[in-house]
């Protein structure tokens, strides 16, 4: 009985070269996949800049900023982008005025007051609300909210910024709620206990200790919500109308930047036409606005985050 294993070179031998080759292949392929996201950004920025450049060959930049009409499809075309921006500002302001209190209070409810059972029911329901497609919200705004509001506000027109903004606000509430709740949740228990030890009631602890400690996260969630509201398309296209008007009146039909892009896209617009270039100029404006807000939001969190360890 010889239990000594005999050395046998025909036993398993690692093929190190094959391993290295397959490793390199996989690494290259997956790295290329990761680069697709970079290519997407380059594609977006490149496309927008290229067509915007073409646009400003035909329309002076000064007119783009100062015209007080938006009539790019008419023979006497005018290109006052602030007409569209004023519309986007109206719907977004109303939306944030709704989403800020609702989302913030909902976040406080979920993290401070709700028991585990309530959370288990309410959180998935908020996720359902967040997952409703925007065209469904558009239907709701146009055909339910507007008629309802018209019974209180007779001067409200069929298409208006008010109901679009209200429903837009509801649609971004889950975003504010969930991001703010994360920020509030991250505030350590010891801070609350400290507040209680000083004799604060629960509300006093929340308002004067927890919320200030979570402020960077809350503010960044609101900035992201603004950015989302500016880029939202279907609610404002369906419920706010397609009628460019400068001003602040929320009761009349308006046309947001996104609604203009949809309006032009629904018609047949040949490449190279001025209308085609115009949607890219509007798209660039929209892209820059949301990009600045997104970067500001990231910066804000980094700059003002309180660290507790």
């Amino acid at each position: 009985m010889n239990s000594e294993p005999t050395r046998n070179d025909s036993l398993w031998q690692p093929d190190r070269q094959a391993s290295r080759t397959s490793e390199a292949i996989v690494r290259t392929i997956f790295g290329a996949f990761a680069l697709v996201s970079v290519l997407t950004t380059i594609g977006i920025v490149g496309t927008l800049i290229f067509e915007m450049f073409e646009f400003f060959q035909e329309v002076p930049f000064w007119n783009f900023l100062t015209d007080d009409q938006w009539t790019p499809l008419f023979p006497t075309a005018e290109f006052g982008i602030f007409v569209l921006i004023s519309a986007t500002a109206r719907t977004s302001t109303i939306a944030v005025a709704i989403a800020l209190p609702l989302g913030l209070f909902a976040a406080i409810f979920l993290s401070e007051y709700a028991g585990p059972k309530t959370r288990q029911i309410v959180k998935p329901l908020l996720e359902v609300l967040a997952g409703i497609p925007s065209v469904v919200f558009g239907y709701f705004a146009l055909l339910f909210v507007t008629p309802l509001l018209q019974s209180f506000i007779p001067i409200l027109q069929g298409f208006n910024a008010l109901s679009a903004g209200l429903v837009l606000g509801i649609s971004i509430t889950p975003l504010v709620a969930s991001l703010s709740e994360d920020a509030i949740f991250a505030v350590p228990r010891s801070l609350r206990d400290g507040a209680y030890a000083l004799g604060a009631t629960k509300r006093e602890a929340i308002v004067s200790v927890v919320l200030p400690a979570a402020l960077s996260g809350i503010v960044s969630s609101i900035i992201l919500a603004v950015s989302r509201a500016i880029g939202e398309t279907m609610i404002v296209t369906l419920a706010a109308g397609q009628n460019p008007s400068l001003g602040l009146n929320p009761f009349v039909p308006i046309m947001t930047m996104t609604a203009f892009i949809v309006q032009v896209s629904l018609g047949d617009t040949p490449a190279g036409s001025l209308a085609y270039k115009t949607i890219f100029a509007v798209g660039m404006t929209l892209f820059l606005l949301t990009l600045v807000l997104n970067i500001f939001s990231f910066w804000f969190v980094r700059r003002f985050r309180e660290k507790y360890d």
């Binding site: 690692p14 697709v36 996201s37 309410v122 065209v135 055909l143 798209g283």
Partner: protein
Amino acid sequence: MNTPNTSGSSLESQAAKFEVDISSRYRTDSIFKTLTWLAISIALLVLATLIVDVLFDGLPFVNWDFLTNFPSRKPERAGLLSALAGTIWVMVTVAVIAFPLGVGAGIFLEEFAEDNWFTRAIEININNLAGVPSIIYGLLGLQVFVRVFGPNGWFYELTLAIKESVYQLLVEAFGNNSMLLQWVYGLLTDADGQITGVDITGGRSIITGGLTLALLVLPIVIVSTRESLRAVPDSLRLAGFALGATRWQVVRDQIMPMAFPGVLTGTILALSRAIGETAPLITIGALTFISFLPENLQSPFTVLPIQIYNWVSRPQKDFHDLAAGGIIVLLVVLLVMNSTAVLLRNKLQKRF
């Protein structure tokens, strides 16, 4: 950060502000609590109202004919067939493109990439992409997939020019009647015997829509892949390396099977985001009225949300109710997808 203010006068003024009356403070507390409760109730009440409103208007229209008829100018005969078919085609395309790309990129960033400026740039880029409005992706798709890679686009012209010059070169080198030339000519020409360029997307087609939406949801797939990979403990990787496996072998045989339920859940959630997207598809020029079924990836198409948009934007009440019917179908599809994702997450996910 907040240094306590120790100057005496300020302390006194703070003390003067202190409300001793505990019962009135508790009253404020209960009002505050009611407000938070009210906020969540309003949000959920709107959700309930929306669903009841849609069901009330649309349920009478949802039947077998509604699912199997083409859209029509007569509301009583209009159906969702082409939109349903278009949605299925586009979603399969999105899944086939976004799943391998997103999972591969996620694996690369989480398992292979070193922590250097390049990786960080990609991460920042993915974060930023997630915040780009969806309609901007529509503009990207319109320019790149419809114009550049579409019929008579830049890519078409390029390939046409290449083919023509290859043909010219061969004619000069071998004369007009050589066997080689006949064979190459067959390769270069279409069915009509014309030399044509290469049209990849066919313009405003299913593949264009699928590519556009795939790019849109790619950040979601990448992020969820990374999170699932991160949840697998390092000890498993180290054990694999200790046995002599390469990094790719460890990822393929040990880590991915563990992370797969999470990856799948993330992908389904990404698809459920894509299925409700309307704006980018309108921007690339998907049709709003279509009464035939798509035949291949280059066919024109419509999808459920666009059909709903089309019906809502008509003035007649009957079409509005049809839209509600379409919304019910869309919401049911979403509900099925999301509950599948949640079930997968709960059933398959292991805790470490």
